[in-house]
């Protein structure tokens, strides 16, 4: 081919020169194809990278050493509502704002120092409340220096939500296990005690009848009736306790002022005990049945345990951020601070049941309902030093009932 284009070499020197030229040309052509090949490889891998970058649901950025955007994928641009032109060259702090940038700066610095950094946090562009997993991976040049960072944000809001639900369920399970343990313990004492007493009373009555000791029989029959009532009440209150925070009824507009007045009427305190409301109690949307139960138990306790002869019970309420604090104050005997925790436990009474008839469940029920709606209940010495104030937080926003109502099975007809 070459030989045809140019005159045949006449000398050896000419031949050698021609050979050199051809070789050089050949070399040039080779290196051309090399570059072309290289360019194609680069193009292909860039295409692959783009497909990957656009295909994933994550936010992907490449930031240079100064944390300016060199590349941003569509997911990111869409979330930000920007065009690529607008995003490229922006500093990362201009995207997230100075406050969040200050929080995340240490992570960027670690990545710029050559470390792959990952962490989880709320808020990414376009989704301030979502929960994200961030990863910063340094990119190195030929000399091993960091030339920039690949930044990736993955939306894990759903996973996080499930995790939180799982944690809540686990806590609920632990609590209910503890309840069950406590129940098994008290059932063996507090429920058995009246039963055993009944057994005994029957024995005495029988002996009394055999000996015709009428007075003793009468007295023992009275005690028998009292013990049967006590057992009944223990079982009722136990049922109320197990339902606390489960069967919560309807969520509706509740006038707590009218509700407390109703409770006063229902409890029908003796005339020597004056019950009253201080100020106006609020009206708001809530589950009224559990709130009424809490107020009823506290007011009934204040009346029942009052040593007399004259007493006052005052109900009041204060609004605080996301909740109300209701207070039930009496001017009774007061409760020593050392019993602060015990009074809220199951079947705990500060007096024997023979002195003041009571199941010891009232405050346990209060505690359980108040905790169900993530509030707190406690007592303080009443101002002035005489009596007790029970206070509890009632949230303005109520959680869902603790468990799904069990299905009602239709009886086969």
């Amino acid at each position: 081919m070459m030989a045809n284009e140019r005159p045949r070499p006449t000398t050896l020197e000419e031949a050698l020169r021609a050979l050199d030229e051809a070789e050089a040309k050949l070399r040039a052509r080779d290196s051309d194809t090399g570059i072309i090949r290289l360019t194609e490889t680069v193009k292909r891998s860039e295409e692959r990278f783009r497909m990957l970058a656009e295909g994933v649901p994550n936010h992907l950025l490449f930031l240079d050493r100064d944390l300016r955007i060199e590349f941003a994928n569509d997911v990111f641009l869409e979330a930000a509502g920007w065009t690529a032109e607008k995003a490229i060259g922006l500093h990362i702090s201009e995207i997230m704002g100075p406050e969040r940038y200050l929080q995340r700066q240490p992570y960027y610095e670690r990545a710029l120092a050559g470390e792959t950094v990952s962490y989880e946090s709320t808020g990414a562009i376009g989704n301030e409340h979502g929960f994200f997993r961030f990863q910063y991976r340094p990119s190195f040049d030929d000399h091993g220096n960091v030339r920039g960072i690949f930044s990736m944000a993955t939306d894990i809001t759903r996973r996080r939500k499930i995790e939180l639900e799982l944690e809540a369920k686990q806590a609920e399970l632990l609590r209910s296990n503890k309840d069950l343990e406590q129940f098994a313990y008290v059932a063996s004492h507090d429920l058995k005690a009246p039963l055993r007493a009944i057994e005994l009373l029957v024995q005495w009555i029988t002996e009394g009848l055999e000996g015709y000791d009428k007075n003793n029989v009468q007295e023992n029959l009275g005690l028998l009736a009292k013990r049967t009532q006590r057992l009944n009440r223990l079982l009722d209150d136990l049922l109320a306790y197990s339902r606390a925070g489960r069967k919560v009824g309807s969520h509706r507009m509740t006038d707590t002022h009218a509700l407390v007045l109703d409770v006063f009427q229902l409890l029908n305190p003796p005339p020597s005990i004056a019950v009253s409301i201080e100020g106006q109690l609020p009206k708001f949307m809530t589950y009224s049945a559990p709130l009424e139960q809490v107020l009823r138990n506290l007011i009934s306790n204040a009346i029942k345990h009052h040593p007399g002869p004259e007493g006052r019970v005052i109900v009041s309420c204060q609004e605080q951020d996301d909740h109300y604090v209701f207070a039930v104050q009496d001017d009774g005997e007061g409760i020593p601070a050392q019993y602060a925790e015990r009074v809220f436990e199951m079947f705990q009474t500060l007096k024997s049941r023979d002195q003041v008839e009571g199941s010891g469940m009232g405050l346990a029920i209060v505690n359980r309902i108040v905790q169900w709606q993530r509030g707190r209940v406690w007592f303080e010495a009443a101002p002035g030093g005489k009596g007790t104030v029970f206070k509890f937080q009632w949230k303005k926003q109520q959680p869902q009932p603790a468990t799904v109502e069990t299905k009602t099975w239709q009886a086969a007809k």
Binding site: Q348, T349, L350, S352, D354
Partner: protein, 139 residues
């Protein structure tokens, strides 16, 4: 030898029928020792001050304010009363209560399972106990 002085019984029990049952068992067994009743651990602790020696304590576990285990702990920690002889007479069949009670050196842990024969036997045992066993601090 056996007590020259009469042993006083301090019964710590919040249930009036159980108190009655104990008196009834004492009657049946013709035990005439003085019997003092405290309604809970707190009251018992107060009464210890004036309790004539020799004495013997029979305590329930589940009670208002201060329960039997808490009372026992308080007794064992005190310089003055740590040598007290204490029986537990309770409905609690809980293993932890038994362990706690024996760790606090009770003389015996008895169940009030049924108040008939086994209850009488428990009282008979306590009765024999003070007749045979030497009590501290009698002189």
């Amino acid at each position: 030898m056996a007590s020259s002085k009469v042993v006083t019984i301090l019964l710590v029990e919040d249930d009036e029928i159980d108190v009655k049952a104990l008196r009834w068992a004492f009657d049946k067994l013709k035990i005439a020792n003085p019997l003092i009743v405290a309604r809970d651990g707190e009251e018992a602790w107060e009464m210890l001050k004036d309790l004539p020696r020799p004495y013997l304590i029979i305590t329930d576990i589940n009670m208002p304010r201060m329960n039997g285990i808490e009372l026992l702990r308080k007794i064992r920690e005190s310089e003055q009363y740590r040598d007290s002889i204490v029986f537990v007479l309770t409905t609690s069949n809980d293993e932890q209560d038994k362990i706690d009670a024996y760790n606090l050196n009770v003389a015996g842990y008895m169940l009030k399972t049924d108040m008939g024969t086994s209850f009488q036997r428990a009282i008979a045992l306590i009765d024999n106990y003070w007749k045979v066993v030497e009590f501290p601090g009698q002189d």
